[in-house]
């Protein structure tokens, strides 16, 4: 299978419940990502987004099911899957260069110091931190720290980048610049990205597909929204695109109301064939669904 680069197959995560038995954060979750695709997951806190990301990273193990990346079931962490942590997670006793070089020397153990340094430096330059390489994380602003986190993740040239709300702790201005840079870097390198976010606008700007998850426990992947924005979209005129607000409204509607009620209402929801939603000029239309759906039944999704 070449079309599915990442395939999450029927994973579940259960925790022991206080009164005996187990609580499932999510059950039977299926999800696939193509090579070079930028995917955002949106859902409320507690829906297990971070758990999915941790399982993808290999930091956590599913109670059931498997994750296949590039044709192989994953087992533990891998240098092929780089994580950008929400809290940047820089090692405070190392400099900027030291943090990036630590990742580089972990991937290429045989490299000598000079080669590691040169490689790390090129990624520090890429995220626009030239000149700050000998500073310690405590001397950097939040945005600069996250740039180091991005440089560290990119420096090991991973097959997949996993980002857990990477920009949520930043101010709006810094967030915008970093989004621009992540988009630029991912487009030029053709990086496959799985990103968690709470920010609808961020998802529409960055993602090719947006995965909507219902509230936990027992969270479901409700639908996959195709981003209607053109590939060459720019931040400046993004909101003027005719489909921008219908996409935005669809996602916000989901977060505000449908994320709570979806699980109870969608009795015929097939977790293996999650509806793919294409945003139309007026109402979203289901283009693939568990059962054959009448072309006019846009209400089936919008209810």
């Amino acid at each position: 299978m070449t079309d599915k680069f990442i395939s999450i197959e029927g994973i579940a995560k259960r925790y022991p419940a206080p009164g005996g038995g187990t609580t499932a954060v999510f059950e039977n979750l299926w999800l696939s990502i193509m090579r070079g695709e930028f995917v955002c997951v949106i859902g409320h806190s507690g829906c297990g987004k971070t758990t999915v990301l941790n399982i993808l990273a290999g930091l956590d193990e599913p109670s059931e099911g498997t994750v296949i990346v590039d044709g192989q079931a994953i087992e533990g962490t891998s240098l092929d899957r780089a994580v950008i942590f929400q809290s940047h997670a820089l090692l405070p006793w190392r400099t900027v260069l030291g943090n990036v070089a630590y990742a580089v020397s972990s991937k290429w153990r045989a490299w000598d110091r000079a080669k590691v340094k040169a490689h790390a430096q090129s990624f520090i330059d890429l995220v626009g931190l030239s000149g700050a390489e000998h500073k310690r994380p405590s001397e950097l602003s939040g945005g600069m720290k996250q740039r180091v986190g991005i440089a560290r993740a990119l420096s090991i040239t991973p097959k997949i980048m996993l980002m857990d709300e990477p920009f949520s702790a930043l101010d709006a201005l810094t967030r915008g610049t970093l989004q621009d840079e992540v988009r630029r870097i991912c487009l030029t390198t053709g990086q496959t990205v799985f990103m968690i976010t709470h920010d609808v606008d961020e998802a529409i700007y960055l993602a090719d597909k947006i995965f909507l998850m219902t509230n936990g426990p027992g969270a479901l992947l409700a639908e996959i929204v195709e981003n209607p924005m053109p590939k060459d979209r720019g931040r400046i005129d993004l909101h003027r695109h005719p489909l921008y607000y219908s996409a935005r409204n669809h996602i916000v509607d989901f977060l505000v109301s449908r994320s709570k009620t979806f699980a109870a209402e969608a009795v015929d929801h097939d977790p293996r064939r999650v509806p793919l939603v294409r945003i139309g000029r007026t109402e979203p239309t289901v283009i693939s669904a568990p059962r054959v759906v009448d072309a006019a039944s846009t209400q089936a999704v919008a209810r």
């Binding site: 990273a57 290999g58 942590f85 809290s87």
Partner: protein, 279 residues
């Protein structure tokens, strides 16, 4: 006029020490009341009785005696008369040996306890019971089993300095931030390299704090231990001078014990600063 805080604090310190020496000097002046006695009898009595000199040495006596010691710190006139430098060197050597062995035991063991919840729980009752035992309570047992007073003193130093280091190392290792561990995990860093590149630097400030507490305790205990085992060392010197009724030397020894303790603490404080990282 605005001097730095440091400078003003130094002035206050100097004033306080001068005041202390002044009060001490006045309090230990000769009283002047001299009993009338025959010269034969006066020879048997000390200066206190014949000249009304205070029984407590004044700062001048102590200063003069200290100067004698400073001039000849390393003389050796047999077992009961050695220079203060030699005595201090014995004590420091014992502390260093016991402390070094404690470091070798406590830090690896602390790592193990910090990294393994099983070992942590299994060893906890032992640590809880052994930790509050006064190190000197081990002395008879040490003397009986080791059969060497010098080694027994080193053992006592080892046993008293091992606990703070062990507990701090275990705590520091166990409380390394999960995200730093996760960084190492996602980079496929092996256990040994992870221990040295992530856990050790992250736990180093806590470990060094434990080591600093330990060196303080070790220096406290060596004086008492040497009073018991005798022979050499600053603790033995204090006790020996007490038996000689040389309060001047006792005071000098007390002062030097404090001075060395401060230096040992400062050395560890410097190491702690070296490994501390701002977050």
């Amino acid at each position: 006029m605005s001097f730095s805080l440091r400078f003003r604090a130094a002035i206050v310190s100097v004033v306080l020490s001068l005041a202390f020496i002044g009060v001490w000097h006045i309090a230990t002046r000769s009283t002047g009341s001299v009993a009338n006695m025959s010269p034969e009898y006066a020879k048997l009595m000390g200066l206190t009785a014949t000249q009304g000199k205070s029984a407590m040495p004044g700062p001048m006596d102590v200063g003069a005696q200290l100067w004698e010691h400073v001039k000849r710190p390393f003389y050796d006139n047999g077992p009961n008369d050695k220079g203060l430098g030699i005595q201090l060197a014995y004590s420091i050597a014992r502390v260093a040996t016991g402390y070094f062995i404690a470091v070798l035991v406590a830090i690896p063991l602390g790592f193990l306890i910090g990294m393994s919840p099983l070992i942590s729980r299994a060893l906890d009752p032992f640590i809880q019971i052994l930790k509050p035992i006064s190190p000197l309570a081990w002395m008879p047992l040490a003397l009986y089993t080791i059969k060497d007073s010098g080694l027994s003193a080193i053992f006592v130093i080892f046993i008293c300095s091992v606990w703070p280091m062990l507990i701090n190392t275990a705590f520091g290792v166990a409380s390394v931030r999960k995200e730093w561990i996760n960084v190492a995990r996602t980079l496929e860093v092996g256990t040994v390299r992870r221990a040295f590149t992530v856990i050790l630097p992250a736990a180093a400030p806590t470990i060094l704090t434990g080591m600093r507490i330990s060196i303080g305790i070790a220096w406290l205990v060596i004086v008492a231990a040497e009073m018991l085992v005798g022979g050499t060392g600053i603790g033995y010197f204090v006790w020996n001078e007490w038996n000689n009724l040389s309060i001047t030397n006792v005071i000098i020894a007390i002062f030097l014990i404090g001075l060395v303790g401060m230096l040992l603490d400062q050395i560890l404080a410097r190491f702690t600063r070296m490994v501390t990282f701002p977050e």
